[in-house]
Every structure is written in structure tokens, then in C-alpha cells.
């Protein structure tokens, strides 16, 4: 609950975008496209929605956030920097030996990271476990799971999607970053995922479809999902590489770092 209004959140997201580009450029490796597509959502979660104490990231009764597409780690690190859990120095070590900012998010290395991802398809299962634990604890803490739309090709995602409503788990929200691009190419080319909303709905999820870059819609959807009496899947239409013109909608920047010229251009655009 750091930021009072929407324009603060938007400014926060912009700062995070700059950090994402910085990290990937400095490391000369990493995944900028899918970090930029979900960063507005993360800025809203950590800046407003989530019950989280930056001074005590290990607080037992905090909301849990699971970045299931673990390669979008720069988004997580940039927002943890935004709220003061990580430092600029931490971020500058991204992907280098000994850094707290491992290539993929890792709970053993980074305070404030709840699950070690990087192998796709596991985050919603972990979130289900977190949500069941909250229920057993009698706590109203919420679990937020961010999934990629390429990631949902993994069958385990649907094992979990089936189980959440079946077990009457309501204190969980799945957010699908529908940026339509995966490692090799567009999702529709690699393996079409069909109607994502209908799939979740068929198992009993409440569906909210939003523009994943429109801050008022994001904040509203997150608030509504917390109050929902059934689990909510937010399907967020996003643009891969959002905010950097030559990265937008470009499969080449799923997992590639900008060169020096591109870096300068990107930082200009994100001023």
C-alpha cells in the first residue's frame, strides 16, 4: 500500500521499466519482453493491492505472489527495488555469479520471492498450496499467481486450474499475461491456447478480462478478485516488450538483451 493514486503507480511502472532494461543490458542476457508486458500488473500489486511489509518480507501472514513465468525475473526485481526490498546494487548484479538476483526468481536467493520458478507450469500449483495453507491458518491473506500465456501450454497448469475450484479455494487469483508471444515465436504459431477465459471458466473460475497496461482497469480487477466468492482468473491483454517500440510485439526480444544503440533508444523512450 505504498502509492496513493493511479498516476503514482504509472510512474512507478515506468521506473521499473527502466530498471528492467538496465538489468538486461548490463547482464547482456535475460528476458525483457515478458518483463515489460507484466510490469504494470506487478506495480499495481506491490504498490497498492498486496498485503506486504517491505520491512518484513518474510512476514508469515503476507499475501503471496508467485511469478510462475520465472524468467520474467527483472519485473520482480525491479518492483522489489521500487518498494525498497532490493537495492540498485542488487539489481546491477543480475545474472552474475553470487548475485541475489538470479536468472530466474529463486526464493533461496532473494528476500521477498516466495517461489523458485524457471521451470514453467508450476506456479499455480504452488499458489494452490499457499492458499490452502492460508485457509488452514484461518487467515484472509491472498495468493496471486502470474502466468505467461505460452506457459499455459504446460499440462500441470490445468491440473491446478481444475483443482482450485474443486477444493473451494477462493483466496487465490490467477493472472494470465496474454502477450501472445513465447520463446520461439507467436503463441498462435507454436501451439494455440484457444479461448483462455473459457477454459478457466469451465472449471468454475470467475473471469475478468482487462487491458493489462491500463492502470485503472488493473487496480479495479485486482480489488474485485480479492472480494470474489469464487477464484478469479484475470486474463490481461498485454503487449510483449511494452514501452520500447522496437521490442513491442517482437518475438526477438523474448530473451535477448539490447545492444548499446538499442539501449540508448529504449532509455530515451522510457524517460
Amino acid at each position: 500500500m505504498t502509492y496513493g493514486n493511479l498516476s503514482d503507480l504509472e510512474e512507478s511502472a515506468k521506473r521499473c521499466r527502466r530498471r528492467i532494461i538496465d538489468m538486461v543490458y548490463t547482464a547482456q542476457s535475460g528476458h525483457p519482453g515478458g518483463s515489460l508486458s507484466c510490469i504494470d500488473i506487478l506495480a499495481a500489486l506491490y504498490g497498492k493491492t498486496m498485503r506486504f511489509d517491505p520491512h518484513n518480507p518474510d512476514w508469515h501472514d503476507r499475501d503471496r505472489f508467485i511469478m510462475s513465468k520465472g524468467h520474467a525475473s527483472p519485473a520482480v526485481y525491479s518492483v522489489l527495488r521500487e518498494i525498497g526490498v532490493l537495492s540498485d546494487e542488487d539489481l546491477s548484479g543480475f545474472r552474475s555469479m553470487g548475485s541475489v538476483c538470479q536468472g530466474h526468481v529463486d526464493r533461496k536467493w532473494t528476500r521477498g520471492v516466495d517461489f523458485s520458478a524457471g521451470s514453467l507450469g508450476m506456479g499455480l500449483s504452488f499458489g494452490l498450496g499457499s492458499a490452502l495453507a492460508a485457509r488452514l491458518d484461518g487467515s484472509d491473506r491472498h495468493t496471486w499467481v502470474l502466468l505467461g500465456d505460452g506457459e499455459i501450454q504446460e499440462g500441470q497448469v490445468w491440473e491446478a486450474a481444475m483443482a482450485v475450484p474443486h477444493l473451494d479455494v477462493v483466496n487465490i487469483t490467477a493472472i494470465v499475461d496474454r502477450n501472445r508471444i513465447q520463446n520461439d515465436n507467436f503463441v498462435s504459431e507454436q501451439m494455440g491456447v484457444g479461448d483462455v477465459s473459457a477454459k478457466f471458466a469451465s472449471f468454475g473460475w470467475n473471469i475478468i478480462e482487462i487491458d493489462g497496461h491500463h492502470m485503472p482497469s488493473i487496480v479495479n480487477a485486482l480489488d474485485r478478485s480479492r472480494e470474489s466468492s469464487v477464484p478469479t482468473a484475470i486474463v490481461a491483454a498485454t503487449v510483449k516488450g511494452k514501452g520500447v517500440s522496437f521490442m513491442e510485439d517482437n518475438p526477438a526480444f523474448h530473451g535477448a538483451a539490447p545492444n548499446k544503440t538499442q539501449y540508448v533508444t529504449a532509455m530515451e523512450e522510457l524517460r
Binding site: 517461489f115 521451470s119 500449483s125 504452488f126 498450496g129 492460508a134 500441470q156 491440473e159 491446478a160
Partner: protein
């Protein structure tokens, strides 16, 4: 503990243990539609609020366990040994690597499971889970030891894989003897200086039968129940090596299992003449446990043959 003196299968010991530790509120039980088989069903009947069936979805079950563990619960998840292999990468990346403590039990392990045939006869499970850093691997030999070792997992500070078996086997330990077992410390069941048999699971009974028969012929062999495959009890292995002839016996592939674990240690410390009784790189088939174990060479006779082979060298 409540009493269960009748013979049973090691999977019954798992079921007994879950009830023994149920009063600890941290304990949660996860199932994948095989609770009646793995014997978590008894816990479910008493504690439905702390039992979650994830359907036939082992990968999900494993990582749901990780999520529960992160929030302070101690999950005990079970399925058939063969299907635990389906969740191997989840166990690797979501549990072992994360340092979260989830206990996975694979029942119906090995050729001993019998008539279902080769699709159900896991002979790789111990080998693959043993490769994971920091993961404890157990394979108890009877109901009482399975019960005692599972109870001890409650305070164990590592994730674990435990293989149990479907069919009833002889009682190796009284309840009292079983309570004294410790994870990571092998049990010396018989002393002898001519050779040593290091066995696990259902082959412990075969090892004892073999030792009796050898003794009648004047050969005294040490018998060790290596119920903990990892971390391996190095002192026990070195003690066995002092006899100069070791047979390992397991209802598991000789590639990667107990025999491999013992050989790995001895090769670097005390090279010792060894023979491995186990599955020789092949799949099984339908048959009664006795039939298939005989066909695969998983018998006391095979152990005796291997001991004699070394002693006549």
C-alpha cells in the same frame, strides 16, 4: 503408538505412521486418487480437513505440497512409486532446489508389486530421487520400520522420498526394535565375517533367509538393512567391506540403486569385491510376486549364489 502386531506391508506402516503423527497440526496429507492403496486413507478418514486429493495429477500434488510447506505445514504426499517418477522434475525444481520440505511416498514399488505388470513395477525410483541434492531416500523393509521411519520424517530437516511396497512381508523388526531405528543409520541384523549382504526393502527378508542357509554350510555373513539409501551410512558400508566380500540386494535396477550407491562409496574409499543382486537392466511382466521375483533373480538363492561366487574365487 497404537499396536499393529499382525504382519503387513510396508505401505501399511506408512498409513499407521500418518495416524501416529496426526496430532501435530502441521501435518497435511496429499493424495492423487490412490489413498486407499498407499494407505493415507486412514488419515483421511480421521482428518478430512487436512487431507487434499488432487485427482490423478501427481505433478500438481508435488508442488501444492511445496506451497503448503512454504507456509509452515509438513506435507506427506503419496502415490504409486512409478507415478512419483512423473513428478520427478517438480520434485527437483520445486522441492529439492527450493529447500522446502515435502515428504513423498511411492507405494507399490519394485517388481514385488506383481500382476499389474511392467507399467507399475518401478525399478528406477530410488535411483532418480537419489540424484537430487539434499533429498533423503528411504526404503524400509517391513511394516514396523516403515512406520517408525515415517514418524521420524516429521522432524526431519530435508525433503524425502520413501518407497513402500504393496504386498505383505515378514516382520523384520518388533515395534520396539523399529522405534530405535534412525534415518541414515543402517541396522546390522546379523553379524558375520565371511561376507556381508547389504539389502533394502523386500530383499532384507531374502538376505536373512540366505544368511541362515549359508550358516548351515559354515559360512557366516553379516546382514545389513540399508533402509536409508541416502544419506548412505558410510560406517556400515565400511564395516561390511572388512569382510572382503559384499553382495547388495534390492528390488530395483542395479543401475542407480542401492548397489550403485554402495559401489560409489567403496570405489573411492575401500575397493571391495562386490556382487549386485537386482534388476539387470530390463522390464518385468505380469505374474505373482514370487514368480516375477524368481524370474528376475531377486531371491535368497541368487544371493547365496553370489556370495559363493566370491568365496570360491
Amino acid at each position: 503408538m497404537t499396536g499393529h502386531s499382525e504382519p503387513g506391508a510396508s505401505r501399511d506402516g506408512y498409513g499407521d505412521a500418518l495416524l501416529d503423527i496426526a496430532s501435530d497440526e502441521r501435518v497435511v496429507v496429499l493424495e492423487a486418487d490412490l489413498g486407499k492403496s498407499t494407505k493415507s486413507c486412514h488419515f483421511r478418514a480421521e482428518y478430512p480437513d487436512r487431507t487434499f486429493c488432487l485427482g490423478i495429477a501427481e505433478q500438481n500434488m508435488a508442488i501444492v505440497g511445496a506451497g503448503l510447506a512454504e507456509a509452515g505445514r509438513v506435507p506427506f504426499a503419496s502415490t504409486f512409486a512409478i507415478f512419483s517418477e512423473r513428478a520427478f522434475e517438480q520434485f527437483r525444481n520445486g522441492i529439492a532446489r527450493t529447500g522446502l520440505i515435502v515428504h513423498l511416498c511411492g507405494s507399490h514399488g519394485g517388481m514385488h508389486t506383481g500382476p499389474d505388470g511392467s507399467s507399475a513395477q518401478s525399478t528406477e525410483d530410488i535411483g532418480i530421487f537419489r540424484t537430487l541434492p539434499g533429498v533423503t531416500v528411504l526404503h524400509p523393509s517391513d511394516r514396523n520400520s516403515a512406520r517408525s521411519l515415517t514418524v521420524k520424517l516429521l522432524e526431519h530437516r530435508s525433503p524425502s522420498y520413501t518407497r513402500t511396497v504393496r504386498n505383505k512381508t515378514a516382520e523384520i523388526y518388533s515395534e520396539l526394535e523399529a522405534k530405535n531405528l534412525e534415518i541414515g543409520k543402517a541396522a546390522i541384523l546379523r553379524k558375520g565375517t565371511d561376507a556381508a549382504i547389504i539389502a533394502c526393502g523386500v530383499m532384507v527378508e531374502q538376505a536373512l533367509i540366505a544368511a541362515d542357509a549359508l550358516s548351515e554350510g559354515g559360512v557366516e555373513v553379516m546382514v545389513i538393512d540399508m533402509h536409508t539409501i541416502k544419506p548412505l551410512d558410510l560406517d556400515a558400508v565400511l564395516m561390511a567391506s572388512e569382510t572382503g566380500a559384499i553382495v547388495t540386494a534390492e528390488d530395483h535396477s542395479v543401475i542407480g540403486g542401492l548397489g550403485s550407491a554402495v559401489a560409489e562409496v567403496l570405489a573411492e574409499t575401500s575397493p571391495t569385491m562386490m556382487r549386485m543382486v537386482g534388476v539387470r537392466d530390463e522390464f518385468g511382466e505380469s505374474g505373482s510376486p514370487t514368480e516375477i521375483m524368481t524370474k528376475m533373480g531377486l531371491t535368497s538363492d541368487e544371493i547365496i549364489r553370489r556370495v559363493n561366487q566370491m568365496l570360491t574365487k
